[in-house]
């Protein structure tokens, strides 16, 4: 008797938990998901770069530097929302900085790479 009641309770718990687990990503799991994404991207970055010829070290450095200016997206979000003057100023400066990083980075990389082009 007691045992079967216990089992029933357990089963009940299980069902609830399973239901929770399946919808989970809204609730408990986002941090883990974000960490997973981070880990995968790190592995990917390592794999991609591992065999690069010295000639391309500098273009890669400046090109990937431009990519790291992705903070621009964060800056746009920060300045865009209505968050008061102080946050606005911070956001505005962040956008200026990040844009310089991004635009300047891609342009200078392109300029550098243009020199390698085989001119026939």
């Amino acid at each position: 008797m007691l045992f079967s009641t216990l089992a029933m309770q357990e089963v009940d718990g299980v069902v609830k938990a399973l239901a929770g687990a399946v919808q989970q990503s809204g609730g408990a799991a986002p941090l883990i998901l974000l960490l997973t994404v981070f880990a995968l991207a790190v592995f990917l970055g390592v794999e991609i770069i591992t065999k690069i010829p010295p000639t391309l070290h500098t273009p890669l450095m400046s090109g990937s530097n431009a990519i790291s200016g992705i903070t621009l997206v964060g800056a746009v979000l920060a300045t865009g929302a209505d968050n008061g003057t102080w946050a606005g100023i911070l956001g505005f400066s962040a956008v200026v900085f990040a844009t310089m990083n991004v635009v300047g980075g891609f342009v200078v990389t392109n300029r550098m790479l243009a020199m390698f082009k085989t001119k026939k």
């Binding site: 974000l34 994404v37 991207a41 790190v42 592995f43 990917l44 970055g45 390592v46 991609i48 770069i49 690069i52 010295p54 000639t55 070290h57 500098t58 273009p59 450095m61 090109g63 990937s64 530097n65 431009a66 990519i67 790291s68 200016g69 992705i70 903070t71 621009l72 997206v73 964060g74 800056a75 746009v76 979000l77 300045t79 865009g80 929302a81 209505d82 968050n83 008061g84 102080w86 946050a87 606005g88 911070l90 956001g91 956008v95 200026v96 900085f97 990040a98 844009t99 310089m100 990083n101 635009v103 300047g104 891609f106 342009v107 200078v108 392109n110 300029r111 790479l113 020199m115 390698f116």
Partner: protein
């Protein structure tokens, strides 16, 4: 734009970043890779701006306009030789942006609501602290690197007793302040900015003691840091795209750092903990330069005439003199007269990795003639005349022989083992590492003093007349 569409655009942008980064690793696809990266960034920014939450579009556009114009001007006007400092500068700006975005988050409305509601969000706070800390180190470290490469007068190699201890204390202090931020969200802004200040100081101290010769490695490392800072910002804003792009750059920067360390024979650990040896001469000039012989363009031309294999080893001086076109002319002339010409490219010749390749490619010199260090060294005994053109540290035999020199252990191009070495430079003054070079006084070495471009042109002329 609906949140779903924005998310999908982010996914697209992330994929393009990956493909672009991959493209950047191969000569054939590098240009396209860079453009794909730029396209991804455009998609990401436009998608973000179409978010309904964005209120003040005007301000935004102004900020973006300013940044774009300033960035483009810098990128287009800069001398090729100053590229590395420009990359350092941009890199610092990126780190600075991370500091500001995390700061703006703490100053924002959503944050204060969350603090008032009392809901725990230690993970987001940790990410905020990381973003500020790493970003600030990147910012100040990059600016110092910039100043060093630009050879600004007010930045000297600074080192003082107990520097490591100070660095350690600052690191611990910054982390401690970050911890305060996480545990006392009510005072988040206070702790945050104090922490950022300490981290700025840390960045300065970490980089300022590092010798200029190791600067490329430092920049690659700071590049990696700026990626990690962006990734941390992504955790703050719960934004996948920032996490992915930042992690890609963080990882690739670290790998690049390691590759470059290997090329210069530095340990990654020494870079990470800011304990690289600084420049400083171990032998005085008088000791080294006892029997320097100099020569003339005519004499060199005569030697070239009886040579079968000529090796040209270019260095920073070729970049300064803009001698690459003169070199091309000499090369073509020699090839016409059946003299074989090869180029020995040291991985850190010049002031940025691949610097020599860029210049020689600009002058249309056949890519196949550019040989990497190892290959050149193994054929050195067949070289009749090696012309060292404005290179110094990368051919300095002290790297092999003097364990106390700042370049000790760096692999070099062994021109001293060629039959004859001609060194083209303006004086006996040292190169980047600031040390004397016994090669100039070697038995088989002859100095051809003068500006690189002019000297090579004179040789070409003398050779052609003969």
């Amino acid at each position: 734009m609906s949140p779903d569409l924005i998310d999908l655009s982010y996914l697209l942008a992330a994929s393009l970043f990956i493909i672009g980064l991959k493209g950047l690793t191969k000569p054939r696809t590098a240009v396209r890779g860079n453009l794909l990266g730029a396209l991804a960034m455009l998609i990401a920014v436009v998608a973000t701006m179409l978010d309904q939450n964005i209120v003040s579009v005007t301000g935004l556009l102004i900020a973006i306009g300013i940044g774009s114009i300033a960035g483009t001007i810098l990128a287009l006007k800069i001398e090729m030789t100053a590229m590395p400092q420009l990359v350092a500068l941009f890199n610092g700006l990126g780190g600075g942006a991370s500091v500001l975005v995390a700061g703006a988050f703490l100053a924002g409305r959503e944050f204060s609501e969350r603090v008032t509601s009392g809901a725990g969000f230690a993970d987001v706070l940790t990410a905020t602290a990381a973003s500020g800390l790493i970003g600030a180190v990147t910012l100040s470290g990059s600016l110092v690197a910039f100043a060093k490469l630009q050879e600004l007068k007010f930045v000297k190699d600074v080192s003082f007793p107990g520097q490591k201890l100070v660095n350690l204390l600052l690191t611990v202090g910054a982390i401690g302040l970050g911890w305060m931020l996480v545990t006392q969200p009510e005072h988040a802004q206070l702790w945050y900015w104090v922490m950022a200040g300490v981290a700025l100081g840390l960045g300065v101290l970490l980089v300022i003691s590092i010798g200029g010769a190791d600067m490329p490695v430092v920049i690659a490392l700071l590049n990696s840091y700026s990626g990690l800072a962006a990734s941390a910002t992504g955790f703050v804003l719960n934004n996948n795209l920032l996490i992915i792009a930042g992690a890609l750059v963080g990882a690739s920067g670290l790998v690049l750092t390691r590759i470059m360390c290997n090329a210069m024979n530095r340990s990654l650990g020494a870079v990470l903990f800011g304990t690289m040896k600084s420049g400083g001469s171990s032998l005085s000039d008088d000791e080294v330069y006892t029997s320097v012989k100099s020569t003339s363009a005519d004499e060199v031309a005569m030697m070239l005439e009886v040579s079968q294999t000529v090796l040209i080893v270019p260095g920073y001086g070729m970049a300064v003199a803009q001698a690459q076109h003169a070199v091309r002319d000499l090369t073509n002339l020699l090839l016409n007269r059946d003299v074989d010409v090869q180029f020995g490219i040291h991985p850190v010749a010049g002031r940025m990795p691949g610097h020599m390749n860029v210049l020689l490619a600009e002058a249309d010199i056949d890519y196949d003639r550019l040989k990497e260090m190892d290959e050149v060294n193994s054929m050195m005994d067949q070289v009749d005349v090696a012309i060292v053109l404005g290179a110094n540290d990368v051919v300095n035999p002290l790297a092999r022989t003097d364990p106390d020199s700042p370049i000790a252990g760096m692999p070099i191009i062994d021109v001293d083992k060629a039959r004859t070495v001609i060194v083209v430079k303006r004086s006996l003054s040292p190169g980047f590492a600031g040390i004397a070079n016994p090669l100039f006084a070697a038995d088989n070495a002859l100095m051809l003093f003068g500006d690189g471009k002019q000297a090579i042109s004179e040789i070409t002329k003398a050779f052609d007349d003969a």
